[in-house]
């Protein structure tokens, strides 16, 4: 069964990540790459993607005749998707375990970020 693991954060959270010491960012990315490699080897990896930052986000609505109306103003509290993983696993518990590993990726000073990861199944 396929699950998507969603990593989200606010604009201020993204800004604080960008201010991490370079070595902490590298350590964080190394752990995430290791998780991707493990998932590839176990055959559970489907896709992963990082998104560009919230400053480039637009919300679009279709007005009359389907003409797009764009808006780029968001409340500070809005959570933006930062990136996702799609995995194909045999149980929800396995999806939660992988999300736990991502959540435990190191932040500043090597301390786990404990970021919340939203886990959702795909509609069949």
């Amino acid at each position: 069964m396929k699950y998507i693991l969603l990593m989200s954060g606010t604009k201020s959270g993204v800004n604080s990540y960008r201010a991490w010491p370079q070595e902490d960012i590298e350590a964080h990315m190394t752990v995430l790459r290791g998780i991707n490699k493990d998932l590839t080897e176990s055959g559970e990896f489907v896709a992963t993607q990082r998104l560009v930052g919230p400053t480039e986000a637009k919300v679009v609505r279709g007005e009359k005749h389907g003409i797009p109306v764009t808006d780029g103003i968001f409340p500070e509290s809005k959570e933006f998707l930062l990136g996702y993983w799609v995995i194909d696993v045999t149980s929800p518990e396995r999806a939660y375990a992988i999300a736990g590993r991502i959540s435990a990726a190191p932040g500043p000073g090597g301390v786990p970020t404990n970021m919340p990861i939203e886990v959702r199944g795909f509609a069949s």
């Binding site: 993607q49 560009v52 919300v59 389907g66 736990g100 939203e118 959702r120």
Partner: protein, 130 residues
């Protein structure tokens, strides 16, 4: 350039919407047709619908990296209902596709005018972080 179109319309605790069956069918037919058109134009990279929020879990790593799951969300939380990744020539084209999605029919065939969040996807991490 690749963009992700995100439909963040579902609220905590909700399951399948209680629309009349013919309205649900019209909505699904609209989305299937949209996906077919994007596929035919070579712009569709991926499209997925997600299961409803009543099946969502939030996971954090506890001690020893063991997952701690939580399924309680504030009523105001918006959930991803589905997404499209498109490969288009301009941001304007991504916005035009998002507007089509936004105008998908709802109850009584009235356009939903859902807000669709549009974001570029990153091609790769910056080389200095690899």
């Amino acid at each position: 350039m690749k963009y992700i179109l995100m439909m963040n319309t579902m609220k905590a605790g909700h399951g399948v919407p209680s629309w009349p069956r013919k309205d649900l069918q019209a909505h699904i037919a609209f989305m299937m047709n949209l996906n077919k058109n994007l596929h035919d134009s070579g712009e569709l990279v991926a499209a997925e619908g997600l299961a409803f929020p009543d099946q969502a879990r939030l996971v954090r790593a506890g001690k020893d990296g063991l997952p701690i799951t939580d399924g309680i969300f504030p009523e105001s939380k918006e959930f991803l209902a589905g997404f499209w990744i498109v490969d288009v020539d301009s941001p304007e084209r991504a916005y035009a596709i998002a507007a089509q999605v936004s105008a998908a029919p709802g109850p009584g065939a009235a356009p939903l005018n859902m807000p669709i969040e549009v974001r570029p996807v990153m091609s790769a991490p910056p080389p200095d972080l690899l």
